[in-house]
């Protein structure tokens, strides 16, 4: 009986402990994001990031569930290769680029799922993605994700066999 009571306590406490641990982990990730330079990709919360695999899965789904994909980096790279149906929206690192992004999303509903990507250089050096992400939040978009590209678009998307299009 005593053992049974102990087990009951463990089962009652365990979910609370796990929830606490989960909240602590999330707060830690948010704190890391908040402490990073706001212009750096490291400032983008993990919850707002999607992996290439997750994005491919999203793009293979039904048309209605598909995100709008915007490339916010180099136009020369977009010209060579980009994610199918992605739209070029200007480099996030320049005022002109952010203005182009603002114009590109002007007719889009604020709740639309939008995925931004760049892939010009390694994630921690990307000058475009974080400013573009912040601009989207400032504009009031509520469902913005960012494609996490560890090294570059060639290595982490094209070389891994994910689908591409050229601008020709």
């Amino acid at each position: 009986m005593r053992t049974h009571s102990k087990l009951k306590i463990v089962f009652a406490v365990l979910p609370v402990l796990l929830l606490g641990l989960s909240i602590a982990a999330q707060s830690s990730a948010q704190a890391f994001s908040a402490s990073a330079d706001p212009g750096s990709a490291l400032s983008i919360p993990l919850a707002s990031q999607v992996t290439p695999e997750q994005l491919q899965h999203m793009l293979s789904g039904s048309v209605t569930a598909q995100p709008l994909v915007l490339q916010v980096g180099s136009h020369l790279m977009f010209e060579q290769s980009h994610i199918p149906y992605a739209t070029y929206a200007g480099p996030g690192s320049t005022p002109d680029g952010l203005e182009a992004l603002t114009l590109a999303v002007a007719p889009i509903p604020k709740s639309k799922l939008i995925v931004l990507y760049c892939g010009c250089c390694p994630w921690n050096h990307c000058p475009n993605i974080a400013p573009a992400y912040r601009r989207m939040l400032q504009l009031g978009f509520t469902n913005v994700k960012v494609l996490y590209i560890a090294n570059n678009f060639g290595e982490d998307w094209v070389a891994k066999g994910y689908p591409t299009q050229t601008a020709k």
């Binding site: 060579q80 050096h125 000058p127 060639g154 290595e155």
Partner: protein
């Protein structure tokens, strides 16, 4: 329903073409470097063939690329130190316009030609879909090395010295 099928089929078709650029980039190794002739920002025409007999470092970079900005001063140093021994660096900017490149060169001039790249030139080198990318081309015009992303510059320097020590028609 048919719309969903169409979407999935189109996406699957796009998948068939994927990976071609990555393959062609690695396939360039130990083959003749694709020839090109472009006008440099200085106004001179830069032709790769004009450097035959030299060890060429062909670097794709951009002003907004952090790792590129780390590499360029080293390349400048190598050009000054090794130029007389037959080393030649050529930088191809992948910026979308020449204005930021001109401004960067005004602040920090480079002792080697800098030209503006385009999609055609990038594709001839297997696609430049991330920066920096650097090719080392032997004296006979063959590509011996390709470096991508943040690179060990000491290893690149050692590779250059090894190529400079090779006779013009050395086989790997």
């Amino acid at each position: 329903m048919w719309l969903q099928c169409l979407s999935a089929a189109t996406f699957a078709l796009a998948t068939l073409g994927a990976g071609a650029q990555a393959t062609s980039a690695s396939a360039l190794l130990h083959h003749k470097a694709p020839a090109f002739s472009h006008r440099a920002l200085s106004g001179d025409t830069v032709s790769l063939d004009a450097y035959k007999g030299k060890v060429i470092l062909l670097n794709f970079w951009a002003t907004w690329c952090g790792p590129c900005r780390v590499e360029l001063p080293r390349f400048a140093q190598w050009q000054r130190e090794l130029g007389a021994k037959g080393f030649q660096a050529v930088a191809v900017s992948m910026d979308d316009s020449p204005a930021p490149v001109r401004a960067a060169l005004k602040r920090k001039p480079l002792p080697f030609p800098v030209l503006m790249g385009d999609a055609k030139l990038a594709e001839s080198y297997g696609g430049v879909l991330g920066l920096p990318v650097t090719f080392l081309i032997a004296r006979d015009g063959t590509i011996w090395h390709r470096f991508e992303g943040e690179t060990n510059l000491d290893a690149m320097h050692a590779a250059i010295l090894a190529l400079l020590a090779q006779p013009p028609h050395a086989k790997r």
